[in-house]
């Protein structure tokens, strides 16, 4: 009976509407969930290092949401030190928070401990860089897609009539982001024999090294057509080398990151030809949603295995409008 169902549904949603009004008047939430299930719970946040634009924004989302939901918020900052991170994670497991939000320094270092945390009944959400272990959830960039996206842009810019010479400035080889992006790039370039990779080097996420490498590459291949950089924080150096060689706009430079304003400014200046944004604000919100879902599900840790990839957006001069990127202070204040 379709009509009955419809009427029933309408009545229910009306009732729901009434209930939500009731709730705002201070009446008891009859579903007995949401707030009560989250109040007093603890969420711990373990970034690779604070002070990085994206980790600051993620941190603000966890912190503000925890406050809003009446949860306790803890943070451990190992400041790029993997050993300190392992210690912090071990200590956190002993403290037994309800949710652990972890940003992995590489594929392996935290893997065993994450398994242990899940076994101990802690929900574990991995942020942006995953480990080899699957836990309750992963929120972050699909780096294989980001690699493909960048490679396709370069293929388009370096087709017939150009030298087809491309340079790749990547991060450490053990890094998840780096190895997945390389996989995406290889799959695209494999189908395009006209693209010649003249240099593929690891600049260790360091702007200085990226600058020195790119300067030399540009001298060796003055007809270089494109550069794929792996991270905006490092590629300010790549862009500086291109600029010094007087080749801004002539060499197609694509890079990516969390969407900090400085990167959009660099698109505006022409320093980056294209910028692949995986918005840190979206990641922050996704992570908070997943956390609430897990706490409300009441299921055993490790039951669910959700992957929430951040939508990738290519920013060029054409769509580089105000508000597409974020300024760190605003993003932190607005984080809810």
């Amino acid at each position: 009976m379709r009509l009955t169902t419809l009427v029933l549904a309408a009545t229910m949603s009306l009732a729901g509407l009434q209930l939500s009004f009731g709730q705002s008047n201070g009446a008891v939430d009859p579903q007995g969930m949401s707030y009560d299930l989250m109040k007093g719970k603890t969420v711990a946040y373990l970034p690779e290092a604070m002070g990085l634009d994206v980790t600051e924004v993620w941190g603000a989302y966890v912190k503000n949401s925890a406050e809003h939901l009446g949860m306790k918020f803890e943070i451990r900052d190992p400041n790029w030190n993997v050993d300190a991170g392992v210690q912090a994670l071990t200590a956190l497991i002993a403290d037994h928070p309800d949710v652990l939000v972890v940003h992995n320094p590489d594929l392996n270092s935290y893997a065993r401990l994450q398994k242990k945390a899940v076994a101990a009944g802690i929900y574990v959400i991995q942020l942006n860089t995953g480990s080899v272990v699957t836990t309750d959830g992963f929120v972050g960039t699909d780096f294989v897609s980001q690699g493909e996206l960048g490679a396709n842009l370069v293929v388009k810019a370096c087709g017939a009539g150009t030298s087809g010479k491309v340079s790749i400035v990547q991060g450490p080889l053990t890094d998840a982001a780096s190895s997945y992006m390389m996989r995406g790039i290889d799959s695209v370039f494999g189908k395009h024999p006209e693209i010649k990779v003249v240099s593929n080097q690891d600049a260790g996420w360091d702007a200085n090294k990226a600058r020195a490498i790119t300067e030399t590459v540009l001298l060796q291949s003055p007809d270089l057509c494109g550069i794929i950089g792996f991270w905006d924080g490092m590629d300010v150096g790549t862009a500086a080398a291109v600029n010094q060689a007087g080749k801004t706009g002539k060499v197609f430079l694509v890079t990516g990151g969390g969407g900090a304003q400085i990167s959009c400014d660099n698109v505006g200046k022409g320093a980056y030809s294209a910028y692949v944004k995986s918005d840190a604000r979206v990641q922050g919100r996704d992570m908070v949603d997943l956390m609430q879902m897990l706490l409300q599900s009441k299921q055993k840790a490790g039951t669910m295995n959700a992957t929430l990839y951040t939508p990738l957006q290519v920013i060029t001069k054409e769509n580089n409008k105000t508000g597409i990127c974020w300024n760190i202070d605003d993003a932190k204040t607005q984080a809810q």
Binding site: Q201, A207, E215, T216, A240
Partner: protein, 322 residues
């Protein structure tokens, strides 16, 4: 080899051999632009080496140089971002760098702390304090309103980038200072034998404070040049191997860690070796990790070569040599 070569000469010869091999085998290596790129990539390293050598000649060591450089420069940039005028921000950053140097100098000179530990501790403190109190983010971009200084990073004088010129000029000034001024000579005397220097009337403690303060000032200059060339200052450089590279170019060029020997020339020879090696390997498209292995192998062979041509004996062995 009838007459023994000094370590400096061994390194210079090694650099020359490598240079010739690269010039013959790598197309474009010898081009003027590539040679400039080679120098530019090690300009900051050379500058920090000059700061280090002032301290090392006086039988000290400064492990806080990189932390001091990163924090003082990053603070300057973030002050400008927060609306301070460029000159005030520069003065404050410079002041901080020199103050850190003075602080270390007082520790080492007046409370007889070992420089190795004093500078290690102060370096860690400066980084920690800076990151949590002075600078909100870990990579500070160069603000757009940095004025004419902002353009200096890519500026050239008769085709030579400012960073190379600044390093060369600084090297010349420090060379002259060490060789021809009284405080400069005092540094050698202290490095040779602090007690004897003190008895001879050298104001040992004051000169030591001066050494560390000068190193701090140069660290700020090096940081500023880094920030101008890559349009940002990454405080993460503190966790990198840069400080070891600095010690490396000093030691490999023939400056003894036991003090009293060497000059700026040795540092520049060591810096050229690293520059040539890095440049050649980048052209050859070697991976970063492979480059590190090659770098360490070459240094090891340099040390072995030196110990063969200059075997250690009671006369050449100095007390306190690390």
């Amino acid at each position: 080899m009838t007459k023994n070569m000094t370590q400096e000469q061994v390194i210079l010869a090694l650099t020359a051999v490598m240079f010739v091999v690269f010039a013959l085998t790598l197309p474009g290596f010898l081009s003027a632009n590539n040679l400039i790129a080679l120098l530019r990539s090690v300009a900051v390293l050379g500058m920090l080496g000059v700061a280090m050598v002032i301290v090392v000649i006086g039988r000290g060591i400064d492990l806080s140089l990189v932390a001091n450089m990163a924090i003082s420069t990053a603070w300057t940039l973030s002050l400008v971002q927060n609306g301070y005028s460029v000159s005030v921000a520069l003065a404050l950053g410079f002041g901080l760098a020199v103050a850190v140097g003075l602080f270390i100098g007082v520790f080492v000179a007046y409370s007889d702390m070992l420089p190795l530990f004093a500078t290690l501790a102060v370096g860690t403190f400066v980084y920690g304090f800076g990151r949590f109190q002075l600078i909100p983010v870990d990579v500070v971009p160069l603000p757009a309103n940095f004025g004419w200084l902002g353009d200096l990073g890519s500026a050239t004088v008769v085709g030579i980038p400012v960073s190379i010129l600044a390093t060369a000029l600084l090297g010349l000034i420090i060379f002259l200072f060490l060789r021809y001024t009284k405080p400069g000579q005092f540094i050698y005397a202290i490095g040779d034998n602090p007690r004897a220097a003190s008895i001879a009337g050298v104001p040992v403690r004051k000169v030591q404070v001066l050494q560390y303060a000068a190193a701090g000032a140069i660290a700020f200059l090096a940081g500023l040049i880094t920030a101008l060339t890559v349009s940002s200052m990454s405080t993460r450089v503190v966790n990198s191997t840069l400080i070891y590279d600095v010690i490396l170019v000093v030691v490999v060029g023939g400056v003894g860690l036991s003090g009293g020997r060497g000059n700026v020339r040795n540092v520049f020879v060591g810096t050229l070796l690293i520059g040539t090696l890095q440049n050649g390997m980048t052209i050859l498209d070697f991976q970063y990790t492979t480059q590190n292995v090659m770098k360490s192998l070459l240094l090891l062979s340099a040390i072995i070569a030196d110990s063969i041509v200059n075997p250690r004996d009671e006369q050449t062995d100095q007390q306190g040599d690390i």
